[in-house]
């Protein structure tokens, strides 16, 4: 029983993994082409960018906030970096490119953080506003042209594969960028679990006033959270440009809600205080698998949005109903506890 509970995980990660497993098994029975290395690798590849985004969103959601500007930050940082390199005509190397992008992303995140923390404003409204500002600023001041040619180092990275397996159904490639993403996941997970910073995020999400009275630097942490999200988003932006082998300013923005949906499906509470990296990664992969398998089963791609929406309703609805049942049970137990000593008193 205890082992079962442990397997289930604090945020129902076990349940999510089970759903994912059932889906994969079901799909493989329904359509054998699903269960191939090709599909697996392509799902992993398509999950790279969403996972990086989701890590950022997870951090914000744990603190009880929400950020809808991350896609705008990502494309701003990625696109501005590429534009800068191409117009100046030099290639600072991968390290340089990521450094520039992270710098831009952190700066944009800092704007979010400062506005939110300094004036204690609702995070959704502020990031909605900055989303418009960042996106508009990119088009107005950076440019709107589509670049099909990337700086040399990025183009080289785009075609680098970690694994190159020849299977019966053709060659399957596992992209090299899976490794840094895994590394990022481990880093964020460690930061959340083992550092003071990470614990303060959970504390703030649980009760911001309690966290403040417990001595956490609430405002400062809040600013750092948004800087971190900006940095993560900018990495995702560069990675997206690398993977799509072109810099298109129209990309990414508009897909924010899919990421938030995946994070919430992964067990993070939108009220803050709950959420884990494992759950988030599982949530993202679940969404990607569903996207992929719908096409394989023969459902037209037009149904994709509806499917993700339904998935969100079911996932969150089950959580909401379970939470309510739990709170009802707790009330019952409280009553018993209250009644018990009372009886004893009467008896003695």
């Amino acid at each position: 029983m205890e082992a079962l509970r442990k397997l289930r995980g604090t945020n129902n990660e076990g349940v999510l993994a089970l759903v994912l497993l059932a889906l994969i098994v079901g799909m493989s029975i329904a359509n054998p082409t699903f269960f191939t290395l090709n599909t697996g690798f392509s799902i992993l590849r398509s999950a790279i960018v969403p996972v990086i985004f989701a890590l950022g969103v997870l951090i914000v959601v744990i603190t009880g906030g929400i950020d809808v500007s991350f896609a705008a930050v990502a494309i701003f940082a990625g696109y501005a970096t590429v534009t800068f390199c191409l117009t100046m005509g030099f290639d600072p190397g991968l390290f340089g490119i990521f450094a520039i992008a992270i710098g831009i992303g952190s700066l944009l995140g800092l704007i979010n953080g400062l506005v939110i923390a300094r004036f204690s404003l609702p995070t959704l409204i502020v990031t909605l506003g900055t989303q418009g500002i960042f996106f508009g600023a990119m088009y107005t001041y950076v440019g709107a042209t589509y670049y099909a040619e990337l700086p040399g180092s990025m183009a080289a990275l785009a075609t680098t594969n970690l694994l190159d397996v020849t299977t019966s159904s053709g060659r399957a490639y596992l992209h090299i960028l899976v490794v840094p993403v895994l590394l990022l996941c481990v880093l964020v997970a460690l930061a959340l679990k083992r550092t003071m910073f990470g614990r303060s995020l959970y504390a703030m999400g649980g009760d911001i006033e309690a966290a403040r009275r417990a001595g956490f630097q609430v405002k400062r942490t809040q600013v750092w959270v948004y800087v971190l999200v900006g940095a993560l988003a900018s990495i995702a932006g560069v990675v997206h440009i690398v993977l799509s082998r072109s810099a298109n300013p129209r990309d990414l923005v508009g897909g924010e809600l899919d990421i938030i949906a995946a994070v919430v499906l992964g067990g993070a509470s939108i009220f803050g205080g709950r959420g884990s990296v494992i759950g988030t990664v599982l949530g993202v992969i679940l969404v990607q698998v569903i996207k992929n398998s719908l096409l394989l089963v023969g459902v037209p791609s037009a149904w994709l949005r509806t499917a993700v929406g339904l998935l969100l309703v079911i996932g969150v609805g089950v959580q909401a109903i379970a939470a309510r049942r739990k709170s009802r049970q707790m009330r019952v137990i409280d009553d018993v506890d209250l009644a018990h000593p009372h009886e004893q008193k009467v008896g003695s």
Binding site: I125, I133, A261, A307, G309
Partner: protein, 382 residues
């Protein structure tokens, strides 16, 4: 309590009349200054509207003040304004509805499809059934709102997530239905309503004002409106006041759906086409308008008049930007800046009247009026 507060009553009984008057005056000013929403924000929006209008009229009078431009403002404002009012009602309960634009599109698509289906066999019949077709569109809107309301009130999903999901669902269904293309065709009556004008004021604009007045009456003069406000101001207090929380929330989202459905009718009236991705920029815009119009995003306070004025202001800014040749991206920047500036302004001015230092240690002060505790952002956040 300091000693001087205790001794004051006996010490100065002679001037008690004067002091009472002074207290009364103080109380009155305080109430006026702290009065959240309505008068304050509406007054501010009047100033903003006039300023924006004067600015663009000064910068490019030839284009901006041309009758065509002014008419365009009056024709474009209603559909956005009605969705913004719907957003305002939902925000009044402390929620948010991201699916409104998707519902409006769904309603528009319903109208267009029904009309085309009937008109294919008998065009005359389709025209005579116009009213039924339009009603069907509105009913679809109410249904969409009811689903939102069910998810929020009965299932208990947070409004932002529930409507995020239904937005995807409605939008996805609309894409499936239309195959991603734009539908053409709508009852001719709607088209003529869209073109008509009374004394140079477009009929659409008059419809908008009438709807706004009806909603204002609903919010301020009916029991349901009161309950919606209470629910948003303090959900726990509302529960202890025997307000049927679920039913109120359900009705709120249904009214919002109804309004979105009406906005869908206006979409078709303005332009006899319907598509799944029309007005995708409205989702952000209506939140900007609602907040700008003095709606407290955490619930409890809002003003329909303020939202109407905010709609007009943003529409003036939008067409003014076009008149002085700024791009729609610069307009996006302006929207964001306006939204954040207003929020900052509100936060600074409300914290000035409430407590001098936000992050300071809790003061032990005399009990403050309950209205302050209700609108305290620290208590209501998250």
């Amino acid at each position: 309590m300091s000693p001087d507060t205790r001794t004051r009553p006996e010490a100065s009984s002679g001037t008690s009349g004067l002091r009472n008057a002074n207290d009364q005056l103080g109380k009155w000013t305080r109430r006026f200054v702290r009065r959240p929403g309505s008068n304050n924000s509406a007054g501010r929006m009047v100033v903003a509207l006039l300023l924006a209008f004067a600015l663009f009229a000064f910068l490019n009078p030839r284009v901006f003040l041309s009758p065509i431009n002014l008419q365009n403002i009056a024709v474009a404002a209603p559909e956005i304004g009605i969705i913004a009012i719907a957003m305002m009602i939902v925000m009044l309960t402390g929620g948010i509805d991201l699916s409104l634009v998707a519902i409006a599109n769904f309603s528009a698509i319903t109208i267009s499809t029904l009309y085309n289906a009937i008109a294919a066999t008998d065009p005359a019949l389709a025209e005579s059934l116009s009213l039924v077709i339009v009603l069907a569109g509105v009913v679809v809107g109410v249904l969409g709102g009811a689903i939102n309301g069910f998810l929020v009130s009965v299932v208990g999903i947070t409004p932002i997530l529930a409507t995020l999901a239904t937005m995807q669902i409605y939008n996805g269904l609309a894409i499936v239905w239309t195959g991603g293309s734009t539908l053409y065709g709508a009852p001719a009556v709607l088209g003529s309503i869209g073109q008509a004008a009374v004394a140079n004021v477009p009929l659409l604009f008059i419809i908008f004002i009438v709807i706004a007045i009806l909603v204002a009456v609903l919010v301020n003069r009916t029991a349901l409106g009161r309950m919606i406000q209470l629910e948003g101001a303090n959900s726990v207090a509302a529960q202890y006041s025997a307000i049927p929380r679920r039913r109120v929330l359900l009705k709120t989202y249904m009214v919002a759906g109804l309004l979105a459905g009406l906005a869908g009718v206006l979409f078709v009236a303005r332009n006899p086409t319907a598509s799944a991705d029309y007005g995708s920029s409205y989702v952000l815009l209506v939140i900007v308008i609602a907040v700008l119009g003095g709606t407290n995003p955490t619930g409890g306070f809002a003003s329909v008049f303020g939202v109407v004025l905010a709609t007009l202001t943003l529409q003036v800014v939008s067409s003014g930007f076009t008149a002085i040749r700024l791009s729609s991206y610069e307009y996006a920047i302006a929207q964001g800046v306006i939204l954040i500036a207003v929020m900052i302004f509100d936060s600074v001015s409300s914290s000035r009247t409430k407590k001098p230092k936000k992050s300071g240690p809790p003061r032990h002060s005399e009990p403050e009026p309950s209205a302050v505790a209700l609108s305290d952002p620290d208590l209501k956040r998250n």
